[in-house]
Symmetry: C2
Subunit: 120 residues, 2 copies
Amino acid sequence: MATSARQGPYFCGIDAAMDVVTGKWKSLILWELQEHGTRRFAELRRGLPGVSEKMLVQHLREMEEDGLVNRRVYPVVPPKVEYSLTEHGVSLNAALESLAVWGQERIQRIGADKITVEAA
Amino acid sequence: MATSARQGPYFCGIDAAMDVVTGKWKSLILWELQEHGTRRFAELRRGLPGVSEKMLVQHLREMEEDGLVNRRVYPVVPPKVEYSLTEHGVSLNAALESLAVWGQERIQRIGADKITVEAA
DNA sequence: GGGGGTGCTCACCTTGGGGTGAGTACCGCA
DNA sequence: TGCGGTACTCACCCCAAGGTGAGCACCCCC
């Protein structure tokens, strides 16, 4: 099921990490939260053009179960929820750094388009 | 299409890298080829318990198109094909190292099972 | 002479990841 | 008075990723 923590069994560390990062938007969510520290639901939605609310909720729930993000709910009348990275989320992001660099080089190599997100 | 090189557009380096590594067995194939240097088709199949021949062929083709692996065919009577990493494949694997370490720690944390592959 | 190995291809089917659109309870603003 | 924002849930649908099983052309070994 998509709503319970992933738990292997795994061949090696790579697929244990991939398991947690697989999902169309997860790496982007990690990125967003790293860049901005703390973000509200709607801010994340705006920061990831094309994401559906359903997937955003679902991914955030899974990442919470996997211990990557903190979810903080303020019991105020217009709902307010803040998401941030846990220490595991931060370290995962650090581990993704070298992958990001490799990806950048690949983008250059193949001359792929890049989506630029205008700051809100 | 699954049989043409992936080409974005991308949000950032991470998803450019993820794009190339996404696929149930790709990271494991990378791992196998790194560990053994050069492997024949049937050796890879045996090294990845549970992979179907169809998926193995398909993933290898895609990785070839993405410039990650070399495919070398020997025109001998019982077919012989050898796969190895290109320099891009090697550097991708290096970039995955820190992810692998993170994944190992995660396996420890959650106490997940690990699949051990008996050497052939 | 037939069973197993080699490296595939092809056709078919299932699964689930992800998208779409509606509904909700309450508020502020025009 | 009604529209838009906030953070969701729910029902439904679709397509592609992945699995299954067969076939192939040729060989070696028992």
